[in-house]
């Protein structure tokens, strides 16, 4: 019941990541592009001595592209199958407690949101969409690219 959630904003929308999946929140300074990789792979960055694969959440959700040209971007670092990823978000807000288990969202969402949705969770600040980090990393065209 009291799972912790990290509230972030992606494409202007407040959503929640399961906080347990998030290792840390970083400010990305430099990005090394990965030519020919899937569009939602924004590039590589280094966190201490680890290489982070940077995922542009907006691209992954097919909601446009995050503008990385203005320098520092906030990102949530997650680990999946031994690889570290940095998920670029508009803003990281807070860690809050979930008040319910995720329940299916019955309203029609955008295709991108639909794909990454793990359901809706109740919080003190109202309902939030719980995002599946792995689906966000896989991106929309992961299959096509592979």
């Amino acid at each position: 019941m009291n799972e912790l959630l990290l509230v972030v904003t992606i494409a202007g929308e407040r959503v929640a990541f399961p906080a347990a999946a998030v290792e840390s929140v970083v400010e990305l300074e430099s990005l090394i592009p990965v030519p020919r990789a899937a569009a939602h792979v924004a590039g590589l960055s280094a966190l201490r001595s680890r290489v982070l694969t940077v995922i542009d959440c907006m691209r992954s959700l097919e909601l446009g592209e995050t503008d990385c040209s203005d320098g520092i971007r906030e990102a949530a670092v997650v680990e999946l199958d031994g690889h570290h990823y940095a998920l670029i978000v508009d803003m990281v807000e807070d860690v809050i407690e979930a008040l319910s288990d995720p329940t299916p969202v019955r309203a029609a969402m955008g295709a991108g949101w639909e794909r990454v949705s793990q359901g809706m969770v109740e919080t003190e600040e109202g309902p939030l969409l719980l995002v599946d980090v792995a689906a966000l990393i896989a991106g929309s065209d992961a299959r096509a690219a592979a």
Partner: protein, 831 residues
């Protein structure tokens, strides 16, 4: 890059985790040293003693385990060569150690076992007894039992039940014991008999932590370097900083290497395993292990241990036939299981090859249809390769009956999924009746590889140096670039190779015009040569490669990621992937063909060499220019003749260097055919490693010999074979034949013709007889014979004592005297 903390509550932040674990570690010692009330004091002391004994037992268990591991290979090697004193000694040492410790710890059963084995081995050491199969098996059984007991002690369990007396009785001379095992001979000297180096145990996690700290330290140093450059320079500070830098670099190097382990650690247990398996199955299997010095990340070694074991079990169980069956199909009754490891580009390849019955593709397909893995229609479409690949499908096994060895429900599908989980591939190749080869390809993750950094439009990329054949400038003298139907073709010193601009492949805009780029001639593993054009080349670096995320690997262009010294990520290119994406048509060429064209492609400045492994395993290099081609000859056509090994190739007989009669392999031998323009000799080798150039200094050998010096090639020392010495030694007399000195000797003297002539010829003379008109440089005659004017004459007498003072003849069996005379005649002419 700042770490702003968001999820403090979940505790997954690295530094916090570290802090808690340290706290936990130190806790017990705090309570130990804490205030103790007098009545608790005694209790605490006895606990202290008990824990001290526990520590000692733990040490004993660890020591036993280490020795057991090291022994695995020794025992089998000892069985193959019972006279090998060093191995016998190390086994003896083991049981002796166990015996000694058991008395101390009161493990009576262990003590009885080790005592019995020690006694039996002591008899062998004192030559009172010969180690036969029965004894070896009995000793092995005891060592196994000791291993079981040690495991039980370690786990704090009861000793495994069972009576040890049968094992001890089996040691007695003439005991019936288990059937004498059929020897699985040891690997060819890859198992060292030296004692294991001193080691300590560390968790990989701790190593990882140290490694990441060191990497952070490097980044901090770089930051400091930048600040120092910006501020006014102060010589003493700079000096101190330089020292700090070099220490950090050294430390980083050392830490990185702690994660590397030789594949040997994985291979060392194989001979023993195969021996036990084959004994159980009544088969005879010879294990041939190669490439144990290849280094792999230690975690990777653990990951491939199970798949490798399973493949080997399969090979012995299902692949290799029983001796009778083998003889019937015309094979040697001993099956050969060859396990080899090598590095190929960005992968480590482990081959497991048997010469057994092979995989029946048709039966596999039938079974797959029966088990509904494929439909009949699909099955009809399958190529031979696809048929074999069915072996990796779940729930398929060609063995018609389940055996205790490999049919335990764990199939090749599990092997494949395990290997794929670490980013590897398993391949199978098999010929019915001839054998099967399984290849494990595992990535070089965390392996240090030398790489060249290049850049396109300002972005850096790394290319593994092992794939680089040469680097030329696009506008260089001997290079022309042409376009045929949009495709680039580079002509480099007459050789046409496909040219691929890296900028186009990556979809980057390069500001450098085509003419000003640099061409890197690449030869990917298993592929053909092509030229990759890049904007600039930068530096040679040793990079620690880590696997890239699946989304990055999906491009097929990259082999991994790495961090540059300034802490920024660099992508490591996969040369084979670039070729594929770039549409380079790869021709499957024979390796020999590529070697033959090697000399033409060689870089003019550096000396191109062929790096190879000799029959004795030595890493050597030969100058490419003297290698004519590679020839495969049957070992049966190699004979010891006229003082040296000679190989018959077609109608020619070539002197054979690089081999000794005793270490010739079975079947076929590969050799380089060396040519000095007029003569040829063969040089035997085990395998070609690579093309390379000598780019570092050569340390010359002090005395003349086969090896003229040592140099670092691809970062490892290699012996340079001296072709001049080879020709001088092996061609010898044959080389001088054409302008050889002529020696005349009587044709009617059988002694001279039969006994003397070979010696004279060996000294470099062409022998003619009386009838021959050629003018002789030397005449050999019997004492008293009349000869005309000659430059030189040697008179031979048949008595040891000279016939008076003026007699300058030589006694005919005075070999030294004859040689001196022959030599001086030779010298006279040479002037």
């Amino acid at each position: 890059m700042a770490d702003t903390l968001a999820s403090s509550a979940n505790g997954s932040n690295g530094s916090k985790k570290a802090a808690t674990s340290i706290g936990r570690d130190t806790q017990p010692s705090i309570t130990d040293n804490g205030a103790l009330t007098p009545d608790r004091h005694k209790q605490a002391r006895t606990q202290g003693i008990a824990s001290a004994v526990d520590d000692l037992i733990a040490d004993f268990v660890a020591e036993c385990r280490e020795m057991l591991e090291a022994l695995g290979g020794e025992i089998v090697a000892w069985e193959a060569q019972p006279d090998d004193r060093a191995r016998l000694d190390s086994i003896f040492r083991f049981v002796h150690t166990v015996k000694g410790n058991c008395g101390f710890f009161e493990f009576p059963r262990l003590e009885a076992l080790s005592h019995a084995a020690e006694d039996a081995l002591a008899d062998v050491r004192a030559n009172r007894r010969h180690p036969d199969g029965a004894l070896v098996s009995a000793v092995l059984a005891i060592i196994d039992r000791i291993g079981e007991m040690v495991s039980a002690i370690e786990a704090g369990e009861e000793m495994p039940a069972g009576d040890d007396s049968a094992l001890i009785e089996a040691l007695a001379p003439g005991a019936e014991g288990t059937a004498a095992p059929i020897a699985a001979a040891a690997a060819d000297g890859t198992i060292k008999s030296s004692a294991a180096p001193r080691t300590i145990r560390l968790s990989v996690e701790l190593l990882d932590r140290v490694m990441s700290t060191v990497s952070d330290m490097v980044l901090a140093r770089n930051e400091l370097a930048r600040r120092l450059r910006e501020s006014a320079s102060d010589v003493p500070v700079d000096g101190a900083f330089e020292r700090l830098s070099s220490i950090i670099a050294e430390m980083r190097d050392a830490i990185t290497r702690t994660r590397m382990q030789r594949v040997e650690n994985l291979f060392v247990a194989l001979p023993r395993m195969v021996r036990d398996l084959s004994a159980e199955l009544g088969k005879q299997v010879l294990v041939d292990i190669e490439g144990g010095d290849v280094e792999l990340d230690r975690e990777m070694i653990e990951m491939i241990r199970d798949p490798l074991t399973h493949i080997i079990r399969n090979a012995v169980d299902h692949g290799i036939e029983k001796p009778a069956e083998r003889l019937k199909s015309g094979k040697r009754e001993i099956g050969v299981l060859a396990v080899s490891a090598r590095q190929s580009g960005n992968q480590i390849l482990i081959d497991i090859q048997d010469d057994g019955r092979g995989i029946d593709g048709k039966r596999l397909v039938e079974k797959a249809i029966a088990n509904e893995v494929v439909t009949k229609e699909e099955a009809a479409q399958l190529s031979q390769r696809d048929q074999l690949a069915l072996i990796f499908s779940a729930g398929l096994s060609t063995a018609s009956h389940v055996t205790s060895i490999s049919g335990r429900g764990v199939g090749m599908d599990v092997v494949r999924s395990n290997v794929e989980r670490i980013g590897g591939i398993v391949e199978v190749d098999s010929r019915l009746g001839e054998g099967t080869r399984m290849t494990l390809r595992v990535p070089l993750t965390l392996t240090i590889i030398p790489a060249l950094t290049v850049s396109i439009a300002g972005q850096h990329f790394a290319i593994p140096r092992s794939a680089i054949e040469e680097i030329v400038r696009a506008n260089g003298e001997s290079v022309t670039l042409e376009h045929l139907g949009g495709a680039g073709v580079a002509t480099i010193r007459g050789r046409r190779v496909p040219a691929v601009p890296l900028a186009d492949i990556l979809g980057l805009d390069s500001p450098v015009s085509e003419k000003d780029r640099t061409l890197i001639v690449l030869r990917p593993a298993g592929g053909d040569v092509y030229a990759l054009s890049v904007d600039r080349i930068h530096d040679h670096e040793e990079l620690v490669v880590k696997p890239a995320a699946p989304a990055v690997m999906a491009t097929g262009l990259y082999a991994g990621t790495t961090l540059a010294d300034d802490g920024s990520p660099i992508l490591l290119m996969d040369p084979a992937g670039i070729a594929q994406v770039g549409g380079v048509k790869l021709e499957i060429q024979e390796r020999t063909a590529r070697i033959a064209e090697g000399p033409a492609a060689a870089v003019a400045k550096a000396t191109p060499v062929l790096l190879f492994r000799g029959l004795d395993g030595g890493r050597r290099a030969l100058r490419l220019a003297v290698v004519d081609r590679i020839e495969e000859v049957a070992v049966s056509s190699i004979k010891q003749a006229a003082g040296q090994l000679r190989a018959q190739v077609g109608k020619a007989i070539l002197p054979l260097a690089g081999a000794k009669l005793e270490d010739l392999p079975d079947g076929k031998l590969r050799m380089f055919r060396l040519n000095d323009g007029s003569h040829e000799i063969g040089y035997a080798f085990a395998e070609v490693v690579d093309f390379a150039t000598i780019d570092s200094n050569v340390i010359h050998s002090d005395c003349p010999g086969e090896v003229s010096g040592v140099s670092l090639i691809n970062g490892e020392p290699a012996e340079l074979v001296d072709p001049h010495w080879l020709f001088a030694t092996h061609v010898g007399s044959a080389a001088r034949k054409h302008d050889a000195l002529v020696c005349r000797m009587p044709a009617d003297d059988p002694w001279m013709q039969n006994m003397l002539r070979p010696m004279v010829e060996a000294a470099g003379y062409r022998v003619v007889t009386d009838g021959d008109e050629a003018s002789a440089d030397l005449i050999i005659a019997r004492e008293g014979d009349e000869i005309g004017d000659a430059v030189h004459a040697i008179y031979l007498r048949s008595e040891p004592e000279p016939n008076g003072k003026k007699d300058d003849s030589i006694y005919r069996y005075d070999r030294a005297g004859l040689l001196i005379a022959l030599k001086s005649a030779n010298a006279g002419r040479s002037k």
